[in-house]
C-alpha cells in the first residue's frame, strides 16, 4: 500500500498542527502532548483555529460530496509551505493518500495534491525529521503497542512507534500475537457491523491482555476508543492511551504522571 517513497524534509522551524476531530473532542491531552513534544524539539507549532475534520468518516461511507465540502474547508488552512503534522495515521492517510483522489477533476485538484505532499504522521515526523532523543524519567513498566492499520499500511510508519518506545530505558515493549491485525474500529464499520467489529476487538483485547502488559499505546484515537472502550466495558486488565501522551509523560520531568 505504501507505494511512494517518502522524502523527509529537513527539520523546519515551524509546522502546522492538524489535531483531528477525535483528538479535539475526546483526547485533547494527546494533542497537547504532541504539540509539546514538537516544541521541545525547537519547532514552533501553528494551530490553525479553523480546522475541523479531515472528512474521512463521510469519505469511507461513500458520501464523497459531503466529505469534499468538509475537506475543502481544510485546504485553506495551510498557506505557508511548512509541513503539516497529524497525530493520527488514519486522518494523515486520508489527507496524504485520499485528498488527491477526492479532489480529482475539481478546481482544488492542485491544491489538494500539494497539501497531501506536506502531511506527516506525528511520530514519524519526530523520529525521521526531528531525530528526537528521548530521556526516560518514568518508573519501569511494560507496555504493548497497537499500530493502527492506516499508520501501518497507508502512512508506512509501523517501525516508528517501537523505535520511540525503544529509546525509553525503563519501558519494556512486548508484542501481542497478530499485532498487525485490525482492532475492528474502521470508523462507521464499528456501527454498521457491530458483531463483526465486536468479535475483532474482543480478540485484540485478549491478545493484549495475554502479553501481561497492563497498558498499551497506539497511534490512533479511533483504535484507542475501540480497544480501551471494550476493555473497560468488559473489565479487562488493560488500559490504553495515545503514544504521544505516553511519550510526553515519560519524558517531561513531572515523574510520569498523566497530564
Amino acid at each position: 500500500m505504501v507505494d511512494s517513497i517518502k522524502v523527509y524534509p529537513a527539520k523546519p522551524s515551524k509546522v502546522y498542527f492538524y489535531g483531528t476531530c477525535l483528538v479535539d473532542m475526546f483526547y485533547p491531552d494527546a494533542g497537547m502532548a504532541g504539540i509539546q513534544l514538537l516544541e521541545r524539539e525547537g519547532i514552533e507549532v501553528i494551530y490553525p483555529e479553523d480546522q475541523t475534520c479531515c472528512g474521512q468518516p463521510a469519505y469511507t461511507s461513500g458520501y464523497h460530496d459531503e466529505a469534499r465540502a468538509v475537506a475543502k474547508a481544510q485546504l485553506g488552512l495551510f498557506p505557508e509551505d511548512w509541513p503539516i503534522v497529524v497525530p493520527s495515521g488514519s486522518c494523515g492517510g486520508m489527507m496524504r493518500k485520499h485528498y488527491p483522489a477526492l479532489f480529482k477533476d475539481t478546481a482544488d485538484d492542485g491544491k489538494a495534491t500539494e497539501i497531501a505532499g506536506r502531511i506527516w504522521e506525528l511520530t514519524d515526523f519526530l523520529v525521521n525529521v526531528c531525530h528526537i532523543k528521548l530521556d526516560d524519567l518514568g518508573e519501569p513498566t511494560t507496555v504493548a503497542m497497537h499500530t493502527s492499520c492506516s499508520a501501518r499500511r497507508e502512512m508506512g510508519v509501523a517501525e516508528v512507534g517501537p523505535k520511540l518506545l525503544g529509546q525509553l530505558k525503563n519501558v519494556n515493549l512486548v508484542e501481542q500475537v497478530r499485532a498487525e491485525e485490525c482492532c475492528g474500529f474502521g470508523g462507521t464499520f464499528a456501527v454498521r457491523h457491530p458483531e463483526i467489529s465486536g468479535a475483532m476487538v474482543s480478540e485484540k483485547v485478549d491478545t493484549l491482555v495475554d502479553t501481561g502488559a497492563k497498558e498499551f499505546v497506539t497511534t490512533d484515537c479511533g483504535c484507542l476508543m475501540n480497544i480501551d472502550g471494550y476493555a473497560e466495558k468488559n473489565h479487562k486488565p488493560v488500559t490504553g492511551q495515545h503514544i504521544l501522551s505516553f511519550l510526553w509523560q515519560r519524558t517531561n520531568g513531572d515523574g510520569g504522571k498523566r497530564s
Binding site: 500500500m1 475526546f26 475534520c53 469511507t60 464523497h64 470508523g187 475483532m200
Partner: protein, 479 residues
Amino acid sequence: MSDTADHSAHHIDVKEFHPRARAAIHNPQIRQNFRKAMDGLMSKRKSAFEGWELETLRDLGANIRLRALANLPDLLEQLEQKLTENGMTVHWAADGDEACEIVRDICVARNAKSVIKGKSMVSEEMELNHYLDAQGIEALESDLGEYIVQLADETPSHIIMPAIHKNTEEISQLLHAKTGTDLSHDVEYLTANARLQLREKFMNADVGVSGVNFAVAETGTLCLVENEGNGRMTTTVPPCHIAVTGIEKVVPNLEDVTALLALLTRSATGQHITTYFNMISGPRKADELDGPEEVHVVLVDNGRSTIYQDDELLDTLRCIRCGACMNHCPVYTRVGGHTYGTTYPGPIGAILMPHMVGLDEGRHLPTASSLCGACGEVCPVKIPIPDLLVRLRQESVDGDTVHPAKVRGHGAKRGAVEAMIWKGWSWMHARPGIYRMGTSMGARFRKLQPGKFGGWTQYRTAPKLAAKTLHQRMKERSQ
C-alpha cells in the same frame, strides 16, 4: 448443523449478509475452523516469500497484469487464433447462462451423460453443476474440497480451499453419511477413499471440465495449477475436455507466467510450486497415446467487459485468484466465506461480485470491511482493494456528483435518513465557527452525553468527551 441449509447453493440471498454474519460470529465451530486455517495460511505465505524481494515481485506481477489488460481485446483475438491453430475450439459466452448452454451443446453433440470437473471458480459463477443436473447430465467435482462441498450440497467458502469451513470431524461424518466411508480422523485414509471413488468416475466420464489459471496468447497454451492430480486427470482422461475461463485470464507471453505462478502458489497456499502444473496445448495428436480427442475453450465475459470500461474498476480484473486477500482479511476470518452469499467471498468478492449481481443486490458487500488494508498489502498483483471498496461504497449511495456512479444497481443503498445525517455533518464541519460552538457545547455539557450508542456500546463503553476541546486549550494558551 442447522446452518447447512443456509449454505446450500440455491437458497442464498446476497442481501442477507447481516443475519448470516451474526450467525457465523456466534458459531464457535465456524470461528475456530476459519481462525485456525487462516492463521496457518498466513504463516505459510510469509515463510514462502522469505528470501524473496517480495515488493519487486509484486510490482512485476502487477505490471504483467496491467500490460495484459491494456491489450486485452488484441490479446483475446491472438489467443483465439493460436488456440484454434493448436486444434482447440474457441467459444465466447456473454454470461454464465450462455456458457452453460455452450457446455451443454458440446455434451449433447457427444451424447455425453457424465462430466468430471476440476476446480473452476468460473464454473461456480455459471452454476454449471446445477444446470447440467437439470439437463440430465451428471457433473461430479473431482477436487477433494469441491467434492466435499458437492456432497454436502453447499457452495465453496473459499476460492482455493472450498471446504475450509469444515474440520476433519465434520468431513469424516459427511463422507460416512454420503459414501459409506468409515468414520475416521485419519486424513490419509479419508483422502484415499475419496480417491478410490473418484478414480472410477474419471475412467467413465464422457467429458472433463476444468478452469484455467493463465491463458497464454502467443502460444495458445492453457495453464492449470493444482495439487491433487485431478486437474491432469480431468483434462487428459475423458475423450473431451472443456476449459472454462474468464476473459481476463489471458497473458501475452509464456514468460509472464513465470512471475505470476511464483506469486500465485506462494500467495495462495505458501507453496513454492504446486504438485502439478499443467500446460495444455491442444487435443491428442495422431502419434500420441493419450489426451482428449477434443478440447474446447469457453471464454466467459459475465460482466468483465463492463468492469473493463472503467479505468479504476479495471484493476479488479488483475486478480489471479490466489485467495490471499481472504486469508488475511479479519472480517472474512470472523464470518467465513458463506456469509457473503456470493461465488467469490472476502475482499475480492466484495469488489467483484457487485458487478456480477448488481450493486443493488450486493450493496452490503463493500461495507463488510474495516478498510484495514491487509488485502491490498498482500495482493500479489497489487489490486488497490480498499480504494475499490470505497469507490463501490460511493457508488452504492450515489455519493459523488463529480464522479457519478455507473455500476449497475448504483444508488440502491442511499437512504433519506442517512443522507440527511451526512449532509448535516458536512454542513457543521465545513463551518469552523459552528463546529467550534458545537464541540465546546459538547464539552461543557458532556455529563449529559448519552451512555448508549447503538452497536458501539453493545461491546464498549461510550467515548468520553473531554472537559475542554483542544481548540479551547490552544485558545487559552495563546491568550
